[in-house]
């Protein structure tokens, strides 16, 4: 079940250069939403909405949180909205993460792929290990939010300006060696997801990846946001908005 409507922005914060956090008052959306789902949000004066992942779901308070990066003129227009303005959203959309109950999970995020994983950390808390990769220390977001959930939070930066120097895959291998995780849930750039999926294959741990694609309707109607998938040896294009955005990694053709 999804809704389409205008919901007031009750909190707005810039959490890094070009990265914004909005909280909207939307009880029915919060009731339905699951970690890993997304919203298709109107960019004022643009034809297409922008798909933005749901970062936080507060069912008691009836709120949803979005954290997004200004990538182009559309997201820039969204970032210019103020506290008190309405956010025009279609949500919650797509399939979220399937989170194993009472078992250890590892979440792996790269850059602006980090926000949808916070919802997993909120649910799994101490059972969750978060490996979060950023270009440099100035790009780090949501670290304290993960920690506040009791999640073991490991930061990696490309230039070593914070945490471990290098990509998330090194830290992931270590975490997979150390703990018997029931699943790895990942979101980030395609090369990162490909490396994470490969690593999980080696360690024989089920891996779910959240994908991104240029999107139209967001509800499965227009069939533009596809990615190549394979099932029973047969290749076909799946809709990121409908069959995804979270897919089982073994079903994704990362080079397709």
């Amino acid at each position: 079940m999804f809704y389409c409507g205008k919901y007031p922005i009750i909190e707005k914060e810039q959490i890094a250069t070009g990265v914004y956090s909005y909280v909207i008052d939307a009880p029915e959306l919060a009731r339905e939403a699951q970690a890993g789902q997304f919203a298709n949000i109107t960019a004022p004066n643009f034809t297409l909405r922008r798909p933005i992942s749901i970062c936080g779901i507060d069912k008691q308070r009836g709120t949803l949180r979005f954290v997004f990066e200004v990538r182009g003129k559309g997201t820039e227009a969204i970032s210019e909205l103020k506290k008190g303005d309405n956010l025009d959203v279609i949500a919650p959309l797509g399939n979220g993460f399937r989170i194993p109950e009472n078992q250890r999970v590892i979440v792996v995020g790269g850059g602006i792929g980090v926000p949808p994983l916070l919802g997993v950390s909120s649910i799994t808390g101490k059972l969750c290990t978060a490996i979060l990769g950023f270009r440099d220390s100035s790009k780090i977001i949501l670290k304290d939010d993960f920690k506040a959930n009791g999640t073991n939070t490991i930061i990696c930066t490309d230039d070593g300006s914070a945490g471990i120097k290098g990509t998330v895959t090194f830290a992931l291998a270590e975490a997979l060696e150390e703990n018997n995780a029931a699943a790895v849930l990942a979101c980030g750039p395609m090369p990162m997801l490909k490396a994470v999926a490969k690593m999980c294959e080696v360690y024989k741990v089920p891996c779910q990846v959240s994908l991104e694609q240029r999107m139209g309707c967001g509800v499965g109607a227009c069939v533009v946001c596809t990615c190549m998938t394979v099932r029973n040896g047969k290749e076909f294009y799946s809709r990121v908005c409908k069959e995804g955005p979270v897919f089982n990694a073994e079903e994704v053709r990362f080079d397709g």
């Binding site: 389409c4 109107t42 279609i90 240029r214 533009v224």
Partner: protein, 303 residues
């Protein structure tokens, strides 16, 4: 309350607003928001006799007041449509239009024959898809090609036949007349205009298919012009589309000569836009003492 019903090729629509092919799936995507029976009709996702994989992504790019798409007719095939989607769709009670594309005339004939035995209300012949290499618009850009497909499909089905025209031609009226003479019951126009966008950082086209079809508000005046030209050239009913997003646009399109309209890209911006257009047309009729829509169709008074 004004009477919004319209009749096209013997088929009665509860109102003149139809969801355009490719923007509304097969009616299954927006049921969380409102009963799709509120629409006058639904033109289903373009289908081919065999299932089709479609083009590689990215398939969409934003443009000034519009979008480019290059889906490439990804669909589950005519038989998949008939088996999986049509039974539930038919329960809604509005007009169900099957949009049909093909690479060869035999493809079109096979699809039309399969649909002839089904419960679809009308067939919309897509000879205007710009995103497939074989077929699609290659049939629609010459009067000979358009006539040949129309003639063949006309023989293959007794369903009311709409032919959807491409704007990517020198003179659309020549094509309109050609399909009229071969038995088309109605024409719908315009499909998308061929366009392209390039990412200046990567120097690559944004669409993986390089080119794609332009739709949305940007193309509205082109659509109005072509509907007007066709209205003056043929006697069969016209379904107007291309960038309609408000009831004012719909009324304008009807004044140009359209009996009904299709709404597509506007649904992506606002899924409720077709309903707002229906309500707006009704209020416009009430306010202006218009009893039925035939009173305004084509009634633009040219200088």
């Amino acid at each position: 309350m004004a009477d919004l019903r319209v009749r096209i090729a013997g088929v009665e629509f509860p109102n003149p607003v139809i969801a355009a092919s490719g923007t509304y799936g097969n009616g299954e995507c927006y049921t969380d928001l409102y009963p799709i029976s509120k629409l006058g009709g639904i033109s289903c996702k373009g289908m081919t006799i065999e299932p089709k994989l479609g083009n590689p992504p990215p398939r969409i790019a934003e443009t000034y007041s519009g979008i480019l798409n290059s889906v490439g007719l990804q669909n589950i095939g005519v038989h998949g449509f008939i088996d999986f989607y049509l039974p539930t769709l038919k329960e809604e009670g509005n007009v169900i239009i099957a949009n049909v594309a093909g690479a060869t005339i035999d493809d079109y004939i096979a699809a039309a024959k399969a649909l002839d035995a089904s419960s679809v209300d009308m067939i919309e012949l897509n000879i205007s898809c710009p995103n497939v290499k074989a077929g699609g618009a290659t049939w629609g850009v010459t009067p000979e090609g358009a006539a040949a497909v129309t003639k063949a499909v006309r023989r293959a089905t007794s369903k009311p036949l709409i032919v959807k025209l491409t704007p990517n031609v020198t003179d659309i009226t020549v094509i309109a007349k050609a399909v009229e003479s071969e038995g088309a019951d109605a024409i719908s126009l315009i499909n998308t205009l061929l366009g392209m966008r390039i990412d200046i950082r990567t120097r690559r086209p944004i669409l993986r298919n390089n080119m794609g079809g332009l739709s949305g508000q940007a193309i509205f005046p082109v659509a109005v012009r072509m509907v007007r030209q066709c209205y003056k050239a043929v006697n069969i009913p016209i379904i107007g589309m291309g960038g309609i997003s408000t009831w004012e646009d719909a009324v304008e399109m009807m004044l140009a000569g359209a009996c009904a309209v299709q709404i597509g890209t506007a649904i992506f911006s606002d899924p409720y836009s077709p309903l707002k257009v229906i309500d707006g047309i009704g209020e416009y009729m009430d306010k202006n003492g218009i009893k039925e829509l035939s009173e305004i169709v084509g009634q633009c008074e040219e200088w």
